[in-house]
Symmetry: C2
Subunit: 165 residues, 2 copies
């Protein structure tokens, strides 16, 4: 490398997207990976018999406040829902329990009814596996919307917040 290029490296580095956003950065209907999602709080959970998986549905502060206040139809702009998916397995120590096996994916819905007007008011994204490979199939968001259209009367969200004391 020629010496005169070296001072440019730190500047260029600042412009790089952070880990996990390399190929699924905001562009058109795509969203960026919300960086803090592992610290979101729990809103719901599910088990799926069709693909043998367990899912935790977490929310950012805006989403959790809306869920606890019962104000989820519509969800407020700024709400982010994260669905963490694990393959399931039987517990060796407690055979009646089904527990997480390998991590599968994390999917997001980000509410912004202006920015994402073309996709039902939500931004949609999914990252697969521990490497968080973006699921960037063409038309991905429209595929999400098509499936979620069965719950358009509850603002396109399947998850109903779990009852809490």
């Amino acid at each position: 490398m020629r010496k005169w290029l070296l001072p440019l490296i730190p500047i260029f580095a600042l412009a790089l997207p952070s880990r996990g956003e390399e190929t699924n950065a905001p562009a058109g209907e795509r969203i960026a990976l919300p960086p803090a999602y592992k610290n979101f709080r729990v809103i719901g959970l599910s088990q799926r018999s069709d693909d043998q998986s367990l899912r935790a549905i977490l929310g950012n502060d805006v989403a959790v406040e809306a869920a606890r206040a019962g104000k989820t139809n519509p969800w407020p702009n700024g709400a982010i829902l994260a669905k963490l998916v694990w393959k399931q397995k039987q517990s060796a120590q407690f055979p009646a329990a089904t527990i997480p096996d390998a991590f599968s994916s994390v999917a997001f819905m980000i509410k912004d009814d202006a920015k994402y007007a073309a996709t039902a008011g939500w931004g949609w994204g999914e990252w697969v596996g521990l490497q968080q490979k973006p699921y960037d199939k063409a038309g991905f968001a429209r595929e999400c919307v098509a499936c979620h259209s069965t719950v358009k009367d509850q603002d396109w969200v399947f998850t109903r917040p779990g009852e809490l004391p």
Copy 2:
């Protein structure tokens, strides 16, 4: 009420335990309801076929940091695990999904190997239903320890933290 008693009311009120701690306050082997548990972060989840329930296992900051660092054998003192339990039902909108129905209970394990030396180094407690009625059967903690003895080689905790990116 005699007038001279009135000024005492605010002082007395300060000494009252907060909601949910009335009859299960620390005394011997009992623990108090950790007030912030709904804001704990997710560590694991499970579905139980024996009682048709879904469970989210949450942790306080000490527990979550230990889980993410893989330092859970033993769990550090100060770790609190909260197990939120819902009865399960089939989703009407997505029949392959099992989702939470009514809230059942919340159970806790609080690690303090000195304070709770008599009960495997953990404080144990459970509160039932939306009213959070303390489950205060005599010998409750020893019953917990007896069941959890099958996992004493993993510090008496069934939950293994879910794999995360």
